[in-house]
């Protein structure tokens, strides 16, 4: 993915390694995350509906270790998704400067990561 940088000074390797870490986490966690938070409860399956009552979700997010893990997983998945969206925008020939696309993409990923950390800390 990405172009070769003749000068050899590219940030691509950094973003790419975070992207791959996020790819692994997205591949492993996102299907289960969608199912438990948005599908099973909506189907009325009792244990999952009970886990997402107000008291239920506060129980789920009670432990600091759980919050740390969720924050790290979400941050890396956000980098994965935004990096890939950036390449999608480039591949669809978005008529915008490459620097602007990168700024929006990685800025967006950083915003999701930072907001998630704040929201987890505020519970």
């Amino acid at each position: 993915m990405g172009r070769c940088n003749v000068s050899g000074r590219s940030h691509e390797p950094l973003f790419w390694s975070l992207f791959v870490a996020g790819s692994v986490l997205a591949a492993l966690f996102v299907p289960a995350l969608i199912l438990v938070s948005s599908v099973f409860g909506a189907f009325g399956w009792r244990w999952f509906a009970d886990a997402f009552t107000y008291d239920g979700i506060r129980d789920l997010l009670q432990h600091a270790i759980v919050r740390l893990a969720i924050g790290a997983v979400i941050a890396l998945i956000a980098v994965h998704a935004c990096h890939r969206l950036r390449h999608l925008a480039i591949d669809l020939h978005a008529p915008l400067p490459g620097g602007l696309i990168a700024l929006v993409a990685y800025g967006g990923a950083a915003a999701v990561a930072a907001l998630t950390a704040v929201f987890l800390a505020l519970i």
Binding site: M1, S23, V24, A26, A27, L28, F29, V30, P31, A32, L33, I34, L35, V36, S37, S38, V39, F40, G41, A42, F43, R46, W47, F48, A49, D50, A51, F52, T53, Y54, G56, I57, R58, D59, L60, L61, I70, I74, I77, A78, H80, A81, C82, H83, R84, L85, H87, L88, D91, L92, H93, V112, L115, T116, F119, L120, L122, I123
Partner: protein, 131 residues
């Protein structure tokens, strides 16, 4: 990765060939994954507020039309999972300690990992819900 970077193809390159379309689909998974991550982030945000606003947001997430969106997003998420697992054998060293590792073994291990992680998450949430 073989990608149609040739700009002369125009931005509709992904309609030209089945293999191009699959590349497009794989990149498009990111939009659905990002959307679901943001929905989940907002659920965490609402969990830190009062019960009324949390339940209003949860009911929005569980609205039948939203569930249709979640199921489409789930299909895209699984497409990412499958395509990502299938390229792993070409990204990893093919030999360890002089012995060849069959591609099917690497792929199988990853799907076993997916099953284990999914089961753990589902059981954990069900356990919290049941107790």
């Amino acid at each position: 990765m073989n990608r149609p970077l040739d700009r002369r193809l125009g931005w509709t390159w992904w309609t030209l060939k089945g293999s191009y379309f699959r590349i497009f689909l794989r990149e498009a998974t990111s939009a659905f994954i990002l959307a679901e991550i943001v929905f989940f982030m907002l659920l965490i945000h609402k969990a830190g507020q009062d019960a009324e606003s949390y339940l209003a947001y949860r009911d929005f997430l569980w609205h039948p039309l939203m569930v249709v969106f979640h199921l489409v997003a789930l299909a895209f998420a699984l497409w990412h999972t499958i395509t990502f697992f299938l390229i792993a054998p070409s990204a990893l060293p093919s030999q360890v300690a002089g012995r060849r590792i069959p591609a099917a073994f690497i792929i199988g291990q990853q799907f076993a990992g997916l099953a284990a992680v999914s089961l753990l998450v589902i059981l954990w949430v069900a356990w919290v819900g049941a107790t």
